[in-house]
């Protein structure tokens, strides 16, 4: 229940969409006590200069992330499948665009 220790509230991650159609990009984080406050604080802190037209706020502890130690094994499957890239294939010179 209510913290006996003084607190700034939990941490939230903030994502901004510059304009519609573009992806939401992580821009930073902030403290807030609930989601409405998180959204308002995000607006005041990260979009004072028209940096965006839409915002997401996500509780930081809801984010699952890979860890730096397993960069190698975790992403390895992507490395040995060069046939996933268009440059892997030979196409007759006569074909200009494909």
């Amino acid at each position: 229940m209510a913290n006996t220790k003084d607190s700034q509230g939990p941490l939230w991650e903030v994502f901004v969409q510059k304009k519609s159609g573009q992806p939401f990009v992580h821009c930073g984080n902030l403290h807030a006590f609930d989601k409405e406050m998180a959204l308002q604080n995000a607006r005041d802190l990260y979009t004072r200069r028209n940096e965006g037209t839409a915002l997401w706020v996500v509780p930081s502890d809801a984010i699952v992330s890979s860890s730096p130690e397993d960069i190698g094994p975790f992403f390895e499957p992507a490395n040995d499948k060069v046939f996933r890239h268009p440059t892997f294939y030979k196409i007759p010179d006569a074909i200009k665009h494909m």
Binding site: A2, D6, Q8, L11, G28, F33, L45, P68
Partner: protein
């Protein structure tokens, strides 16, 4: 992985100019150094709101008032970016604030000087933000990822701060005799404390060596100070103001100015709590924190209540 291997990986990352991220392994002293530096930077942004806040209600026009409000709000935002960057190193916001309030953590000595006239607001934007920008531009390439990203945001926002300050000085310097004197007086009082913002001379700076080795800083205190002087002297000359330094003189050979030594005894005094406004500044911070406590408690209680209602 054993510690030797971890250290080797860390060094290799630095030498490839890759950023260190919060989850990466890092030496204890690197972490400690960053917490000290970033939180000191955060405290400076927040305490820096006070001397300028002093003039918001007395700004000479509505235009000036809106500009100053926007600038002070930006500084609050800079503090928040930097606090969360420090928190990513595993220290809580509450601990950081406690370090400030108990005097364990420092903030930039410049904010312990009073703002006596409107010209001081001009001098602060022009000189103090100018010096801060010089340091912050370098820190955009600092090795710790969250700190570097905060700096990129901050630098974007800072560019108007220096210009609005210089604009105030420009206006005063073409005003009445009294206004011109007021501008010169502000420059006289803020010049030396601004030069001190870059920190002690390289030869005596205890923290510099590690900061350079770990690529936290990429240039030394003296290098940044020199660049600031080179940039600022012509700006003063252009509006007919005189830098208060008898030893200031162009040196063709080094393509820069020679200049006098700041009074480092004064610097140390102010750092150690004996500047003109140390007590007032810290007092104001503590008061704001204490008086805000009921708001934080109420917001927390409200959030808990809503959660319960959803659960019910």
């Amino acid at each position: 992985m054993d510690i030797k291997q971890l250290e080797t990986n860390f060094d290799a990352k630095l030498s490839k100019n890759e950023n260190i991220e919060p989850k990466d392994w890092m030496p204890d002293n690197y972490r400690k150094h960053l917490i000290r530096q970033i939180s000191q930077h955060a405290h400076s942004e927040i305490v820096g709101m006070l001397p300028e806040g002093n003039w918001i209600t007395r700004a000479p026009s509505l235009r000036a008032k809106m500009i100053l409000l926007a600038k002070v709000q930006d500084e609050g935002g800079h503090g928040l970016y930097l606090y969360t960057a420090s928190e990513s190193l595993n220290i809580s916001r509450d601990d950081l604030l406690e370090q400030l309030h108990t005097g364990k953590a420092k903030y930039s000595s410049i904010f312990n000087y009073p703002t006596l006239t409107w010209a001081d607001i001009g001098a602060i934007g022009w000189l103090v933000d100018g010096a801060a920008i010089m340091n912050q531009v370098m820190l955009q390439r600092t090795s710790y990822g969250p700190y570097a990203r905060a700096m990129v945001r901050i630098c974007k926002e800072e560019s108007f701060h220096q210009r609005q300050g210089y604009e105030i000085m420009c206006k005063l310097s073409v005003g009445t005799k009294e206004q011109k004197e007021m501008a010169q007086d502000a420059l006289n009082r803020f010049w030396w404390p601004t030069l001190m913002m870059f920190g002690p001379p390289d030869a005596e700076s205890s923290n510099s060596e590690n900061a350079i080795k770990w690529k936290i800083k990429r240039e030394s205190n003296d290098q940044l100070r020199q660049r600031f002087v080179n940039q600022t002297v012509p700006q003063a000359e252009l509006i007919g103001l005189t830098i208060p330094d008898k030893n200031l003189k162009w040196n063709e050979a080094k393509n820069g100015y020679d200049f006098g030594e700041p009074d480092w005894t004064e610097f140390n005094n102010v750092i150690h709590g004996n500047g003109p406004c140390n007590k007032e500044r810290l007092g104001a911070r503590i008061k704001a924190h204490e008086q805000g406590r009921w708001v934080r408690e109420a917001a927390m209680a409200f959030a808990e209540k809503k959660k319960e209602r959803v659960a019910a």
